[in-house]
């Protein structure tokens, strides 16, 4: 362990992992809340065009990817907010176009060679340069400031956009801000887990955490903690076992999700039993109706689908 920490490149890798472990779930939770879990995936595809442009113009692929990804995210947000019926088709075009364009540009560039695009697709955390780390730190700080600082506002627009508008929240501005933050996160995480697995780090810690939580605040805190733990453990594991870091982090996160889902049901049962013990209603139905399967009735079983007001 101490041997690992003595290398400069490992120190930078672990620092980058911590930053990405915090930012990716911090943004991802809002995408999951709005049931847009795969949005990060689409942005990862679009970012490939940015990487390609960086190769062509011999500039930093990270900054080019930020630029292209922000433009892509704003386009996606505009398509979404207009509620266009063919919005999903427009998004599909954007995703595939972004990926195809990226590969084409890279192959045309002078640096084209085996593995040049590879390091962006799957991440190469061990080659994070000091300048990269500074970029990741600055962008990560902005993302954290926005997603945690505007938590109540972003929660409101992702929970119920129409209602948020009536509270006077600038819905359109915040939607665009969230899209830009997601785009920035994708490019920040690009070096750590790679464009193809970026979305996993935005989504999996959130869905793993919410197996055990009931409130948004707890889910956000737990998913960020989980993101940091799996990112650090993934990088450490990849160093010890000599495997790529991106896939290690993602598989670890999925393993945590599996464990949390398995213990979620017994935990929920225990929670309900505690509440019943506190005197909230009988354990079992004590009213038996003729010809009715006991245990299937409930005092308040109205579902959104059932219109009790019209019941005969």
């Amino acid at each position: 362990m101490t041997e690992m920490l003595s290398y400069d490149f490992m120190q930078r890798a672990l620092l980058a992992a911590v930053l990405v472990g915090i930012t990716a779930p911090a943004v991802g939770i809002y995408l999951v809340q709005r049931r847009q879990a795969l949005m990060g995936d689409g942005m990862g595809h679009v970012a490939m065009t940015g990487v390609g442009l960086g190769f062509i113009f011999q500039t930093s692929p990270v900054w080019m990817a930020v630029l292209v990804c922000v433009l892509g995210a704003v386009t996606m947000e505009l398509v979404r907010s207009r509620g266009n019926q063919r919005g999903d088709i427009a998004l599909a075009m954007l995703f595939y176009g972004g990926m195809a364009c990226g590969k084409l540009l890279v192959s045309m560039s002078a640096q084209a060679g085996a593995g040049s695009l590879e390091s962006y697709l799957w991440g190469s955390i061990l080659t994070v340069a000091p300048a990269d780390l500074a970029t990741i730190a600055v962008l990560g700080a902005v993302v954290i400031a926005v997603t945690v600082g505007l938590r109540r506002q972003l929660f409101a627009i992702c929970q119920d956009e129409d209602f948020a508008r009536v509270t006077g929240v600038p819905v359109r501005t915040l939607n665009l801000l969230l899209a830009v933050m997601a785009a920035v996160t994708v490019t920040v995480a690009m070096r750590v887990v790679g464009l193809l697995l970026v979305s996993a780090l935005m989504v999996v810690p959130v869905v793993a955490a919410q197996q055990l939580t009931r409130s948004f605040a707890a889910t956000q805190a737990a998913s960020i903690a989980l993101g940091v733990v799996v990112a650090l453990a993934g990088v450490t594991g990849s160093y010890q076992l000599n495997v790529p870091s991106g896939p290690a982090i993602v598989l670890l996160a999925i393993a945590v999700f599996a464990v949390f889902s398995a213990i979620a049901a017994p935990l929920a049962r225990r929670r309900h039993r505690r509440r019943d013990d506190a005197g909230q209603g009988p354990q079992v139905c004590d009213v038996r109706l003729p010809g009715q399967d006991p245990g299937k009735s409930s005092s308040d079983a109205t579902t959104p689908e059932r219109r009790a007001g019209l019941a005969q």
Binding site: A164, V166, T302, P304
Partner: protein, 254 residues
Amino acid sequence: MTHPIPPAVRLRDAVASRGGRPVLRGVDLTVRPGEVVALLGANGSGKSTTVKAVIGSVPLEQGTLELFGTPYGSFRAWHRIGYVPQRTTAASGVPATVREVVSTGRLAQHRLLPFRRRDRAAVDGALAAVGMLDRAGDGVADLSGGQQQRVLIARALVGTPDLLIMDEPMAGVDAASQQVLADTLRAEVGRGASVLLVLHELGPLEPLIDRAVVLRDGCVAHDGPPVPNTGLHALPGHDHVHPHADLTPPRLLA
């Protein structure tokens, strides 16, 4: 009455379409201070679109909208409006507690400032008003349909609005929650709030309603006291006016 003179809502000659299809074709709607107005009509008559035009989520192609005497474009006093959308579910992709959902109703008050003690007290008060204070820490996804509706009503009440806009608040709501809703609405009216209600039927809220506006094909077909005539009998829920042997009258709760 501490209300200013201008009406809470003045919608004039509103024309709007959704997905290229004209839905409102010149709707006039006024809600005066302290008045309870029911917006009635068959499915597809433009009730929900009218409400969405009033809150600004469906843009007007023609016509004017004034809220509390201010043209919509320069209206900023959103804290005066409480909105209960037509509910599908109060839950989203991430768990949230009842308290967290209701707290979003205070955004117009605390804005970018932290949530303070008086905001917390307002949330407690609104939850108590709909009888959900004991469930404040529970996840909204664990609630029944009627309880979720009560949470959404608490979210609208938490800013003590001068105008309450509710889109089909009685749809899919169990009897206990309908009773809570009618009581809450009566208290709000007693406080002096104006109310705009979209209803599929007058039902148990009928005694509270001052005026009914009936829409048909995007036009106002009736605007006056909620006397059950002028085409209202064509709507469901008026079986107590036209009793038929095969229809059981709805339970009257008010």
